[in-house]
């Protein structure tokens, strides 16, 4: 597949092993993969490269995922619409977090520990299909 036709995915995740597995998996699935190891770097890369979809961890150093998402949504037209899949190992029942999450319209909120990597790929493809 030519680089230009590949969908671009940005993976913002501070856990090295998880980021490594995700990057490797999405390359094999035919994506053009960008990665960032903290929220600050993630925001910078996102705004510069404008990927088709973003996988975003919540608990990260320098800038947490919630702040990254908020800033993206406020930045420009692209930032308002780019599909974001939040990945976390927080339970999905922390009211404060959930209310913040809902405000910025992520495509999905997924608990990593309960998620197979193959299922995540399906969710990403599903979301991208919706966008086209």
């Amino acid at each position: 597949m030519k680089e230009s036709t590949k969908k671009k995915i940005l993976i913002i995740e501070d856990e090295v092993s998880q980021r490594k597995a995700l990057v490797d998996k999405f390359i094999r699935e035919g994506f053009s993969v960008l990665e960032a190891r903290d929220g600050e770097e993630g925001l910078r890369v996102a705004l510069k490269e404008q990927p088709n979809i973003i996988l975003l961890d919540i608990i990260m150093p320098k800038m947490d995922g919630m702040t990254v998402m908020k800033k993206l949504r406020q930045e420009n037209e692209w930032g308002k619409k780019v599909p974001i899949i939040l990945l976390t190992n927080l339970s999905s029942d922390d009211d404060k977090t959930m209310n913040r999450i809902k405000e910025d319209s992520p495509a999905y909120y997924l608990v990593k520990a309960n998620l197979k990597i193959g299922d995540l790929v399906e969710k990403v493809k599903e979301q991208l299909a919706r966008e086209t």
Binding site: S17, Q18, N89, S91, K116, I117
Partner: protein, 399 residues
């Protein structure tokens, strides 16, 4: 000798009488002492508040210590005022023993030109309320800290198995190279145990929230047969693998019932999971759901109220009679199944029973070793009551 005019005398007398009446009728304890610490005026309210058996009139001219010697902090502060010129004081929540009961006082004093005026109030009721509120606030802070610790701990604990699982999935899928049979077997075993760790963390999180009593109950109208079938479907693969027979017997029509589907799912999942796990291959699991009346005897127990009863029977290993009373206790696993399933947490039934107790339902069983077990779940027809809470329990995906 100074000649005081009669009218002034009269006015002074009237003023004195007026002031004595004010002091006498005051709702608070009042005490006036001179600069030598002798009692000039005292009302019976003070004597009553202090719980003393003394005559007010006999106290005039006595040393103030006669009535306050058992309140050392008051003695001390009065000395400081009289001897060192401290202008006023305010003692709050002074504790005294009155007829063996604790009493709390508020005591205020002011130095005046001829001595001191001291006012005493009984604030036991307010002190008790304040102490109770303080204790409640403290408990809330402790609970909040515990809750946050549990959430944070479970987040941290889930992180390594997430990495392990994803990397093993990539390995097992063959995407990073083909494994030989032995390597595949080991990788599968590692994956199984890592997944088991996540289940354990989720279960511990639930148990912790259960014990903190912080999970809500959000009932919604539920059709119990469809609900139970939905839960059963999660076990389809495992049932097929073990070639288990599943027989279903349901009432022709059941009314909708108000239940919290998330909570009930945890309970029904646990019971069916045990039935599947602890029934040998080619065994049978029977699921029945009926509406039963108050006082009907179901499985050696009389129903306390009209209830929808779910009955799950297996032809499995059963529960040893001498261990039956421990089956709902935390971390308990019966001797006869420990070898057969090393993956159990010993928390599933504890959690299930705790949930049913919390929602005014009931969970009990009958069992015979090597013949099988029947679990009974009774949900009152009037449904579950809504309860507030801050943290929901985690529902596991099966498989």
């Amino acid at each position: 000798m100074v000649n005081i005019p009669t009218e002034t005398e009269k006015m002074l007398y009237e003023t004195k009488e007026f002031l004595l009446s004010v002091i006498g009728e005051s709702p608070v304890g009042t005490l006036g002492i001179n600069l030598e610490g002798k009692i000039i005026v005292v009302n019976h309210q003070l004597i009553e508040i202090l719980g003393k058996n003394l005559d007010v009139d006999e106290l005039i001219g006595q040393d103030v210590k006669k009535i306050i010697e058992d309140i050392p902090e008051l003695v001390k502060v009065i000395n400081t005022c009289l001897k060192r010129g401290r202008k006023s004081f305010d003692l709050h929540s002074v504790e005294i023993r009155k007829k063996k009961e604790k009493t709390f006082l508020s005591i205020r004093g002011r130095l005046i030109t001829v001595g001191m005026l001291i006012v005493v109030e009984n604030i036991t009721a307010e002190a008790a309320a304040a102490a109770a509120e303080q204790a409640l606030e403290k408990q809330k802070k402790i609970d909040k800290a515990k809750t946050e610790f549990v959430s944070l701990a479970s987040h941290q604990l889930r992180t390594p198995p997430t990495s392990i699982n994803w990397l093993l999935e990539m390995l097992l899928s063959g995407e990073v190279g083909q494994l030989n049979e032995k390597q595949k077997e080991y990788a599968q075993e590692a994956y199984k145990n890592s997944t088991r760790m996540v289940t354990l963390i989720n279960t511990l999180l639930n148990v912790s929230r259960m014990e903190l009593g912080i999970f809500p109950v959000d009932p919604e109208p539920t059709e119990m047969i469809a609900f139970t079938k939905d839960v059963l479907e999660e076990f389809e693969l495992q049932i097929k693998r073990k070639e288990l027979q599943v027989e279903e017997q349901y009432a022709p029509k059941l009314p909708l019932i108000m239940v919290d589907p998330k909570l009930l799912r945890i309970v029904v999942q646990n019971i069916i999971s045990n039935a599947v796990k602890y029934t040998p291959e080619k065994g049978t699991i029977t699921i029945k759901i009926f509406l039963k009346q108050e006082d009907e005897v179901i499985g050696n127990r009389k129903l306390k109220t009209n209830s929808i009863v779910i009955i799950i029977t297996d032809t499995g290993y059963g529960i040893p009679r001498n261990q039956s009373d421990k089956i709902f206790t935390k971390l308990f696993r019966a001797d006869n199944i420990k070898d057969k399933d090393t993956g159990g947490t010993g928390l599933g039934l504890y959690l299930a029973k705790s949930i049913m107790d919390h929602v005014q339902g009931d969970l009990w069983f009958e069992s015979e070793l090597n013949r099988g077990t029947t679990f009974y779940l009774a949900i009152p027809s009037k449904g579950m009551e809504k309860k507030e809470g801050t943290k929901e329990l985690v529902v596991e995906a099966v498989g």
